[in-house]
Amino acid sequence: MDIGGLLKELLLEDKVLIHFDFMNGFFDINKSVVVTWGVIAVLALTLIFLTSNMKLHDIRTKQLVAESIVDGLRGITGGMLGEEGYKYRDFMAVVLVFIGASNLVGLFGFTPATMDLNVTLALALTSIVLVEAAGIIEKGFGKWLKGFSQPMAIVTPMNILELAIRPLSLCMRLFGNVIGATVIMELLKMAVPVVVPAAFSVYFDIFDGLIQAYVFVFLTSLYIKEAIE
């Protein structure tokens, strides 16, 4: 059992998949990005299949599935965002699906896209931009700016720090959970190659992946709700 070798392979592997030879590899494309391309392609094809030939009456099962998906996703994110954040629910639903699907590709033998810090960082940055943009749109720039010194002027530095802390915590939580789950799964597979990894896979690959997606979306929705109040 070469645990050190395994960890080295998992954590220090070269993530670059497509290498461009100019600007010192600045435009290199990581494996995770390619995996998300696959995720997007699969999701797009599934959706096109599900929503093709939609009818008003006598709907087929696939249309029912499509409508249920829309209802379910909007129910989840709409409930978290509340009345005021209604218009962000579609985007939050997409983030939920994106993270969930990225985590679940581990089931098919790919490295989860969210195991790449760049992906979670991108998601966290998008979230914080969305949160602040929502605050500016709903309250206006002046009020948004004033919001930093509320409820007291003394908390202003902390509120400004929050701008960086929130995305960092979002990004690290997701990244840490996914990499932790993957490392544990790999170690388990090393220790007991049959039966036991399958049982734990249900938790680490499916449940944890979806829970992390939910937590990410839940926290972002919470921030948006707070920002537009």
């Binding site: 990005v33 959706l47 991108a122």
Partner: protein, 163 residues
């Protein structure tokens, strides 16, 4: 392992936006369109039902009014018939009265004529009797006694006859 590549962050953001566009185009928009259409259809059906209900209400009202009118007309007709009947009754009664009066008058008249005729007949008989008596007297012998007898006889006969 913790190497951060700005371009990959950008790629991921772009990926996320692409996925959002995909979801919008192929899921939310399509399903929303269907739901919207369905809602419109329901609204239309509801409006139609309300309209129909109103129409039915109008019909009901008009029928009730018509029914009322017919009832009124019926009453009028009955009243008219009654009035006509009374008029007819009066007319018949009057006619009958008139006729009766005429009959009475005629009867009276006839009776008068009859009485006159009887009177005439009596008078002529009396005349005959007188003539007869006179003849008898003229034919028989005359003395005071027979005259008296005759006289009495005549009177008796006359009395008997008249009785």
């Amino acid at each position: 392992m913790l190497s951060i590549s700005i371009m990959n962050i950008v790629y991921t953001v772009i990926n996320l936006l692409i996925l959002y566009v995909v979801f919008r185009l192929f899921l939310f928009k399509r399903v929303d369109a269907v739901l919207q259409k369905r809602r419109e259809e329901i609204e239309q059906a509801t409006a139609e039902a309300v309209k129909k209900e109103k129409e039915a209400e109008n019909f009901k009202e008009s029928y009730a009014k018509k029914l009322q009118d017919v009832g009124k007309e019926c009453d009028e007709m009955v009243a008219k018939s009654k009035k006509d009947g009374y008029d007819e009754y009066d007319r018949i009664i009057n006619d009958a009265k008139e006729k009766a009066e005429q009959i009475i008058i005629e009867a009276k008249h006839n009776a008068q004529i009859e009485a006159q005729r009887e009177k005439d007949a009596y008078v002529s008989e009396l005349t005959d009797l007188v003539v007869h008596a006179a003849n008898k007297i003229a034919v028989s012998k005359h003395d005071e006694e027979t005259d008296k007898e005759l006289y009495n006889k005549f009177i008796f006969e006359a009395i008997e006859k008249s009785e």
